[in-house]
């Protein structure tokens, strides 16, 4: 069941120049959050932000009643959210969206870029519970942008590519050696910039492997009321906020 709930800022952790984890705490219980779910966060005290901002849930602690989000500063709202006072009130609508499907797989490759790594902590944990072998492949421009690897390595091996070669292999994720030769994976999950996800989906298609992508989109509501957030699929325009954000790459008109 979706809720609108007040949280308070508990802490910030900056991961690099432009991205941080914000931890929010509530005095009320938190419902179950599935990997892939996101929240619509109202940005307080911002004169130039009108709508809520959709952000994936990075992690949840249902004992402490905390939610955490991994946020990359790209504009007004993500900047303002990074500047709140500890204790400040933040209103959240959540949990929103669908979730990744997991049934019957053995070896999962999770490919993330940019802020598109956020849903993969919950996904990694879930896959581990389900005894699925997980490999994380993260791509970025430089090593500073590869973050939270310690957290991810709890759930599987972390490999990476950087455009400048400062960490992992040099190049783009789709050029990683993991795609060459033997390919043990029976499922790919991906989230990140559209071009990356499209390239990943293409590889998955070539290798005839199931691939799920978590999409971004401009959203006004986040819960299916406005029909602003559509993406073209084989069954017409679907809402990313309710029919997604996770789609099987085969249904997307990529």
């Amino acid at each position: 069941m979706k809720k609108i709930q007040d949280f308070n800022v508990k802490e910030y952790k900056w991961l690099n120049d432009s991205s941080y984890v914000i931890v929010l705490q509530s005095s009320y219980p938190i419902p179950e959050i599935k990997p892939g779910n996101f929240a619509e966060i109202a940005v307080p005290n911002a004169s130039d932000v009108f709508l809520r901002r959709p952000i994936s849930v990075l992690d949840v602690d249902r004992e402490l009643n905390t939610l955490s989000f991994y946020i990359k500063v790209v504009g007004k709202g993500t900047k303002k959210l990074s500047e709140l006072n500890i204790g400040e009130k933040v209103s959240i609508i959540y949990p929103l969206g669908n979730s990744f499907s997991i049934n019957g797989i053995q070896n999962a490759l999770i490919i993330g870029g940019g802020s598109g790594i956020a849903p993969f902590v919950l996904l990694g944990r879930k896959l581990q519970e389900e005894k699925v072998n997980v490999t994380f492949l993260f791509g970025a421009r430089t090593k500073e942008e590869i973050v939270l690897t310690e957290e991810f390595s709890k759930y599987g091996e972390v490999i990476s590519t950087t455009e400048d070669g400062s960490m992992g292999e040099k190049g783009l994720v789709t050029q990683h050696s993991v795609f060459k030769g033997d390919f043990p994976f029976d499922k790919i999950y991906t989230c990140g910039p559209d071009p990356m996800m499209k390239a990943v989906a293409k590889i998955a298609l070539q290798k005839n492997i199931d691939c799920e992508a978590s999409l971004e989109n401009m959203m006004a509501c986040g819960f299916g009321a406005c029909l602003c957030c559509v993406t073209e699929t084989t069954s017409g325009n679907l809402c990313v906020c309710t029919d997604g954000p996770v789609f099987n790459s085969k249904v997307l008109k990529w």
Partner: protein
């Protein structure tokens, strides 16, 4: 005890607070957040004769104190509404008011006739003001003769409460309001969105796939309020007012300007519980200011 009930001609609502078409889905999307039975009414998402995919993505842009949308009446068509959606929401103890759209007068009539058959639906809102479709839509609402023509035609096909939704993109909204009043409308609702545009300076491209879209939200409130007041003074039929209502105070301002009922639109996206808060706020205002009935607020602005 404040009497919150209001009337739009023969249509009685338990309170003045309804939700605006296209901003509240079919109500179901808000079921998790509020008790839908508390609402005065729900103007459901715009319906057309046939299934419509709507406009390509991107359909939304944020603007100062507002937003643009270019949804373009995406919906599965009136038959699907009747067969699949309405049965799921008809149990609600609130007025379900379909928003009727068309590219031609015939379209409007056909959709209306189908709705006329549905038991439990006591009113329709004739949308002659959608700025986001290539054919029909706003074109009907910005010219007096065509607004009259479509209203007259639908009036003949419909015997329950007929609300006509006006476009603010006109020189003189009272002229159109008077025209549709004479053509048989039981009430007018206003305003629909303002034709507007957003550009991304970085890419030097329009943000919306359709270049222009419809502006809604608090940015338009002062213009909408002026139009409601003008129309209230120009016609005898009741007015359903909207445009940037974000809280009870805004809603009360629209009622003071002459709106018998108000519609909450864009605000639903930001706070899905706001419509209920507005009902409570109107009740409280009436109590604190000695109004025994919400209807007494209508047009109570002292000039």
């Amino acid at each position: 005890m404040v009497d919150l009930s209001v009337k739009l001609k023969d249509l009685e609502l338990k309170n003045p607070v309804t939700t605006a078409s296209g901003t509240f889905g079919f109500g179901e999307e808000f079921d998790d957040f509020i008790d839908l039975n508390k609402l005065g009414g729900i103007f459901v998402k715009g319906l057309t004769l046939h299934h419509r995919e709507g406009n390509p993505y991107p359909r939304m842009a944020e603007t100062p104190s507002g937003m643009l949308n270019a949804v373009g009446l995406q919906n599965k068509g009136i038959d699907y509404f009747i067969s699949d959606i309405y049965p799921r929401i008809k149990h609600l103890d609130t007025e379900i008011i379909p928003n009727v759209n068309g590219s031609t007068v015939e379209d409007y009539i056909e959709v209306t006739e189908k709705i006329n058959e549905i038991e439990g639906i006591n009113a329709i809102e004739l949308n002659i003001s959608c700025p986001n479709v290539k054919e029909g839509g706003m074109a009907f609402g910005v010219s007096c003769p065509s607004a009259i023509a479509v209203t007259e035609a639908v009036r003949k096909a419909y015997d329950k409460t007929l609300i006509v939704k006006l476009s603010p993109n006109v020189t003189d909204i009272t002229e159109i309001a008077k025209g549709v009043e004479d053509a048989g409308a039981d009430a007018v609702s206003l305003v629909n969105t303002f034709l507007a545009m957003a550009i991304d300076a970085k890419t030097r491209k329009p943000i919306l796939s359709t270049i222009t879209g419809g502006l809604s939200g608090p940015a338009i409130k002062p213009i909408a309020l002026r139009m409601v007041w003008q129309v209230y003074n120009a016609v005898r039929i009741p007015v359903s007012g909207m445009g940037g209502i974000m809280n009870a105070t805004d809603a009360i301002e629209f009622m003071l300007a002459g709106a018998s009922t108000i519609q909450v639109g864009t605000a639903n996206f930001i706070d899905p519980t706001i419509s209920i808060q507005i009902i409570d706020g109107i009740e409280q205002y009436c109590e604190e200011n000695g109004f025994s009935a919400a209807m007494d607020l209508v047009g109570a602005m002292e000039v």
